[in-house]
Symmetry: C2
Subunit: 295 residues, 2 copies
């Protein structure tokens, strides 16, 4: 460890894909002195011990959080309230309480009132992941070249925020600070709506009576397989995302449905020009993604 670590004791609540990747990345880059993890699942705790990716594993989140200068919630959004209620008495003044959830406004409303005075609530979201779940699925390079978005309150402590930014930068992420509402609107279109649509079509395909599931799987290379990858993501995590970002998802879904109806009408009436024009415009966005190295 060339420089002093950013945190003395990092507490990870939840050690699934993201939590275990954070543990690996933090250790690899020497970002923290000690990592203590808590997980509600005995099976996950056992596996984390076997993998040797943290220094201590606890079943009680309050015990893990005690004395930590950074506590990071890496569990589905719906669990936050109970966890913070349990760990609040153990949180030290000056500690950072952050998370990795895919919706950010709800963090303030759900747990804001439970956070003890002197503890810095700084919500975060690394825009990275795979369709796999659990501690075995994580890897240290998950965040390299990806964006880590922080949505601090307007009056956030500058020094605490600087430390959290340094931590995420240390994992290889590019850090962006934005307003929680703006985050939720942006992610509704770039992540939440794509997941909802992928989940929908994969479910639709599974229920057809005139094409079998075996046929759907067999010929999935024509486009469907990419949707199945997305629709293989953690069901509880995604349930909570849709419930917690309801307004933004419903708004984006409304726009999507309007556009889809327009294209449906073009197909029904044989309006090739409308289709070709639309399909030509979308190519430019793809080029942008490739050029931004997010492909």
């Amino acid at each position: 460890m060339a420089e002093a670590p950013i945190f003395e004791r990092l507490c990870l609540i939840g050690v699934g894909l993201i939590g275990s990747s954070i543990a690996r990345a933090a250790r690899k880059a020497g970002l923290v002195r000690k990592i203590v993890a808590a997980d509600a699942s005995a099976q996950v705790r056992q596996r984390v011990v076997e993998l040797g990716i943290v220094d201590e594993v606890e079943s009680d989140p309050a015990k893990a959080a005690k004395g930590a200068d950074c506590v990071m919630l890496c569990t589905p959004l719906g669990t936050y309230r109970d966890i913070v209620a349990a760990i609040a008495p153990a949180l030290c003044p000056g500690a950072i309480l952050t998370d990795i959830g895919s919706v950010k406004s709800c963090v303030f409303t759900d747990i804001g009132p439970l956070v003890p005075k002197g503890v810095h609530l700084l919500p975060g979201h690394p825009v990275a992941g795979t369709e796999h779940s659990g501690p075995d699925a994580g890897f240290a390079e998950l965040f390299v070249g990806r964006w880590a978005i922080l949505t601090p309150p307007a009056d956030a402590d500058t020094a605490a925020l600087a430390k959290l930014k340094a931590f995420w930068a240390g994992t290889g992420s590019t850090v962006e600070v934005m307003d929680a509402t703006r985050h939720d609107l942006t992610l509704a279109i770039t992540s939440h709506l794509p997941h909802l649509i992928a989940y929908t079509i994969v479910g639709t395909a599974a229920e057809l009576e005139n094409v079998t599931a075996a046929e759907v799987i067999r010929y999935s290379a024509g486009g469907f397989r990419d949707f199945t990858r997305i629709a293989g993501s953690n069901p509880v995590m995604w349930r909570d995302i849709f419930l917690d970002n309801r307004e933004a998802v419903l708004e984006m879904l409304g726009r999507f449905t309007e556009d889809l109806t327009g294209l449906q009408r073009a197909i029904r009436y044989g309006d090739g020009k409308t289709l070709e024009d639309w399909f030509t415009r979308t190519r430019a966005i793809r080029r942008g993604v490739v050029e931004a190295k997010q492909a």
Copy 2:
């Protein structure tokens, strides 16, 4: 070339991603004695000469087709009628006329009446591809481990069909014979609808006034990027697919919209159980895709 080639003179009409991949695969595996290609674009013809992937390049498709024992249409579906009208007088009795288009029933209705007596019309569809277009995008391994579907008429010539099956098997594909109507229904869900939805959402994202295109691109790693890949496919090719498989696409789209509306309602009313149940079921389909090695 260890064994005798399957075709003496393979004529490829259109040398884009698929046509150029077929040329490369056929030559690599020694499936044909000679490859003659035609393309309407002078730029493509020039590039095909530079790449050296075929033996002859013609601007006139009839000249390319003359004397061929297999003529393969590798252009968008909407071009078939004019091309076959032009090459019909040059087709030899006993020759195979086939294609690689993503819709199959329309091939019979569009060009069936133009095919000279004694020429075997055997439509085909390799379920393989990438989002890239043009002769530089092709590669010999594109068909390895993928399905090639043939949709011959009920009274197809057995010997001709056997040759075409051997050709596709020689490219590394697994060959499946099915009815054209069944093909079009199956591909409507595994390929056409996924493309339509991906095109739609990428277009929706591009037109938002409250989230910029730059933001959409920046945070695309959360799921959106997979849709941009699909929505980067050839616009003319896909316009024709939707127009030519209208009925099946509209049917699948209707089912998708019903399911999406159900999930939208669950989000609006906070029905987490419906969401979680749906998202859990879709995981099984993903496992099927992975196990079938189509991931």
